[in-house]
Subunit: 151 residues, 2 copies
Amino acid sequence: MDNKTISEARDTLGALLRKPYESLQADVYAKLEARGFPDVRPAHSSVFRYIRPQGSRVTDLADSAQMTKQSMAYLAGSLKDLGYVRIVSDPDDKRAKLVVLTARGHAVWDALIELRDAAENACAEMIGRKRMAELRAILKDLGTAIEASQR
Amino acid sequence: MDNKTISEARDTLGALLRKPYESLQADVYAKLEARGFPDVRPAHSSVFRYIRPQGSRVTDLADSAQMTKQSMAYLAGSLKDLGYVRIVSDPDDKRAKLVVLTARGHAVWDALIELRDAAENACAEMIGRKRMAELRAILKDLGTAIEASQR
DNA sequence: CTAGTTAGACAGATAATCTGTCTAACAAAA
DNA sequence: TTTTGTTAGACAGATTATCTGTCTAACTAG
């Protein structure tokens, strides 16, 4: 057989992690589109993932999402243009802006949670609740260990 | 506590999958840079991951990587400019081009395998070989189940 | 031999990131 | 209180990585 590629017919850990992740994301965003939010894109998840109910500063969101404030400002700005957030001045610090979900933004937030839970449950059904619990436990361990090794 | 975010203090499956994946990737590409290949970027992995020793057509690479042939042509072209591949006419089909690794490209290919294996082994050390085997087994199951559910 | 399909090129657009510089506002220290 | 340093974000500009659409040359099948 002359079909050798970098994976050498073996499942790499990277591929094993990436495939379900991408499926999960594709599923959630396809269904979000079907629910009437076609303009919310995966990149926006950095905002929805970390935004707090009272609103969050661009800088804080950028820190959470591990990206530059310029990049986060771009994402927040695009969500503002699409009507999912308002950007208001922070009363506690006149330099700062708060990114705050609009009603439509809240609807997306709720939908994202619901769709994520549904997708995760579907996965759990597929492989069994017990194995899913085991998977989560190992992944959590691995994440913690990697984090520790980086410090 | 007023710290509620979309994750509601819970580890989402997406985050659990994403974090180790990104760490693995960052580690491999940082070390690749340290080895003298600073211009090979994660996006190029679509090429290195699927390219065959005899070379591969742009279209085939695009299919494997699940992207458009235009996008793959862009990546192949950028690797050509950087000296990691040559793009030669396919003798079997005058329309087609073969993307073929140069010596330098082969060096990257080898390094990627070595670094990937090292990174995976490091992970296995962290959580234990047995748990890593279990992780792989469950992820493989999950991947298969998701694939099946999509067809 | 003609009709349809495929491979890739070319043109153009957009999304999602980055770096660098600048100003206003805040915070801390003298 | 005034200066000095830091922080928040804005603005400008660049790059990377993707997309769609159209076109031509070459292959393939009827």
